[in-house]
């Protein structure tokens, strides 16, 4: 049974959605248990797959039994799990599980009688994302991108906020353009190689007279533009801020950490497995321009985040900046840049999840969208605020959180490959992040306008009697336990991911041995 894991991994959320469809409609309370079991099964599969990959290298799984011994490669659809996507599988399932715990009560409140639909859509989104991560077939990737995009359009449009539906409309238009460009790119590749399987295409592209024809260059541009639109890379990010800040809170917690990161993974998979790093970094030679684009993305994302008034909008612009990190890292044409980019995909997913859950709890409890309405958080909600602080410190890049180590590898890649613009952009963005988050801590710590200067000779109430928190229980000011516990788990994961980044990076490097980044510096 153990070699059927990729299938079970994908099927359990799919069956979860179907059972919710059949059973959940009548009694909404049944929906969550089904969701929880489905996601736990796929989490278990993801972890055992990761163990298998670490033990015995990449796994190839041929759907329909069309394995290469019987039929030439590319007849059936192949799934391939190596170090990189095994880790991403675990991240996706963990984030989905944590979001489902967060949504136990919140989904009911926000979508009232459509809770089963919400759970069905989120499970199908998980199927789409897991499928994208696992597939090794270019067209199959398009179909799964469509599955995940369609469900995310619906999840964004479900909310009661009118602006949410308008944002969903823009998201559909941009998303379809992106997916169609990707489809067109695959079409161009198919026309030149006659193959759809990534490894087969790579083989055929490696001989120069096919590989260097303008069609393949145009195909690469199309795929790149398509994937950049899906990941909201700087010039094409128009849809992201509105979509993620006006959608229901449970959707933002599910979409924000996953959608853009999986699209970055798709870009890296296409770059390494389909075109190969030699083709991209030597014959194409765009790495400088793309890294400069990434620098613009990082700086613009951070500065725009600085200009925001609403908390969730600010976090969305931070996502745009983080995408700039990853794209820049991947395009440094340097081993450590690529390792940094992949590690950042993992750490950034959890960082974004932590910040979004905390932001949603603040907005729900304080009924305040804007940053300056969040005063007195340290006193009222100490536990949630500590979770937020850990997420923020990770975003700034303070050790021992995961954010620091991903910046470390990206900076190392930047310095070694001599892209000083990228190094400077990273530092500027870290500083701007510091300002951003300390501005929030200040409001949370001081309150909107602190009392006049302290010269009055200490007429404060005496501290000796219990402080003004005066809370009988520890959780009185906090959100509901089902919302705070996932936050704390995510914060813990961020720190653990940071502290134990050694083994994770070792797995990534093992996977990268298979497809070395050309001009790879000494490890």
């Amino acid at each position: 049974m153990s070699e059927q894991l990729p299938a079970i991994l994908l099927l359990s959320p799919l069956f979860g959605a179907l059972i919710t469809g059949l059973v959940g409609m009548t009694d909404h309370r049944r929906c969550f248990p089904i969701l929880a079991t489905a996601l736990t099964v796929s989490l278990f599969c993801a972890i055992s797959l990761l163990a298998q990959v670490v033990k015995s290298g990449p796994i190839d799984y041929f759907v329909g039994g069309w394995d290469p011994q019987r039929v030439p490669l590319g007849i059936g659809i192949q799934l391939r799990i190596d170090g990189i996507n095994a880790l991403l599988l675990v991240v996706i399932t963990t984030v989905a599980l944590l979001t489902s715990i967060y949504s136990i009560r919140r989904a009911g409140e926000e979508n009232t009688e459509k809770t089963p639909q919400f759970y069905m859509l989120s499970q199908m989104l998980c199927v789409g994302l897991l499928g994208i991560t696992v597939t090794a077939d270019a067209f199959n990737l398009f179909v799964l991108v469509e599955v995940s995009s369609l469900t995310s359009y619906a999840l964004v449009a479900m909310g009661s906020k009118p602006r949410g539906t308008m944002a969903a409309f823009n998201y559909i238009i941009m998303g379809t353009i992106g997916a169609s460009f990707y489809l067109l790119g695959v079409g161009y590749l198919y026309m030149k190689t006659g193959m759809l399987n990534m490894a087969a295409i790579h083989q055929i592209l490696s001989d120069p007279n096919v590989g260097h024809s303008p069609t393949v260059y145009v195909a690469f541009i199309l795929i790149l533009v398509g994937v950049w639109t899906k990941m909201a890379f700087f010039p094409l990010y128009g849809w992201l801020p509105n979509a993620y800040s006006y959608c229901p809170s449970t959707t933002s917690c599910l979409l924000a950490p996953l959608m853009t990161k999986v699209s970055v993974y798709v870009m890296i998979r296409v770059m390494l497995s389909v075109f190969g790093s030699e083709w991209i970094f030597q014959s194409l030679g765009w790495s400088h321009t793309v890294v400069w684009l990434a620098c613009i993305a990082i700086v613009a994302g951070s500065v725009l985040a600085l200009a925001q008034v609403e908390l969730k909008k600010m976090l969305c612009y931070l996502i745009v900046a983080e995408v700039g990190y990853m794209v820049g890292g991947a395009w440094l044409a340097n081993h450590w840049g690529m390792v940094g980019a992949i590690y950042h995909i993992l750490s950034d997913a959890f960082m974004t999840l932590c910040l979004f859950i905390a932001a949603n709890i603040f907005i729900k409890n304080r009924r305040a969208e804007r940053i300056d309405q969040l005063e007195g958080l340290f006193k009222k909600m100490p536990i949630t605020t500590t979770g937020f602080v850990i997420g923020a410190l990770a975003m700034i890049g303070v050790p021992p959180t995961a954010g620091f180590f991903s910046k470390w590898y990206l900076l190392r890649g930047g310095i070694e490959s001599g892209q000083w613009g990228y190094v400077v952009a990273l530092l500027i963005s870290s500083l701007v992040n510091a300002i951003l988050f300390f501005r929030i801590f200040e409001v949370a710590y001081f309150g909107k306008n602190p009392v006049e200067s302290h010269d009055a000779h200490h007429d404060h109430e005496d501290e000796t009697q219990p402080s003004s928190v005066g809370d009988s229980t520890l959780f009185s000011g906090e959100g509901r336990p089902t919302t705070v516990i996932p936050l704390l788990i995510t914060a813990a994961i961020i720190v653990l991911l940071g502290v134990f980044n050694g083994p994770i990076v070792e797995i990534i490097q093992q996977a990268l041995d298979g497809m070395p980044v050309v001009g790879a510096a000494i490890r």
Partner: protein
């Protein structure tokens, strides 16, 4: 002229698909009315379907369905264009079709892929229409500039 001869005529389909696609893209970006944007989106997707299908065309080939005939027709039919009435349903011996000549049949793969793309197009269009209806319910208009106006004013209904 010879540019037309050797680069436009043999790729006539591909020129048409690019033009169609650009019309769709232009409509999506610049049209104000939401439904017109959706029409642009559909044109955009249909153009890609045209591109894919025109990859798999082989001159002188028929649809990729293998005919099974009585014994006399052992080798595959090579004359093009000949019509054959189909032996009704039953096929006597299983191996009546062997040594099929690939050039005789069109390339099936693009057709399969485009079946999926059409279905995806329909689904996206359906969801987009549903969203535009719910926008109409909230904003009362489908003109993008009017909607943005209403959002800017932040009417009571807006920031619910």
């Amino acid at each position: 002229m010879e540019f037309i001869q050797n680069s436009v005529l043999p790729h006539f389909n591909y020129w048409v698909y690019v033009i169609l696609m650009m019309i769709g893209l232009y409509a999506m970006i610049t049209k104000k009315n939401l439904v017109k944007k959706l029409i642009g989106m559909t044109i955009f997707q249909t153009a890609i379907i045209l591109f894919y299908v025109s990859i798999g065309v082989k001159t002188g080939s028929t649809i990729p369905i293998l005919e099974h005939h009585a014994e006399e027709h052992g080798e595959a039919v090579t004359d093009t264009g000949g019509h054959h009435e189909e032996a009704p349903g039953e096929h006597e011996s299983h191996d009546s079709i062997h040594a099929v000549d690939p050039d005789h049949f069109a390339n099936p793969l693009p057709h399969v892929l485009m079946l999926t793309a059409i279905v995806v197009g329909v689904s996206t269009l359906g969801v987009a229409l549903a969203i535009s209806q719910s926008i109409y319910k909230d904003f009362g208009t489908l003109e993008e500039h009017e909607i943005l106006e209403k959002i800017k004013q932040g009417g009571p209904g807006i920031d619910v």
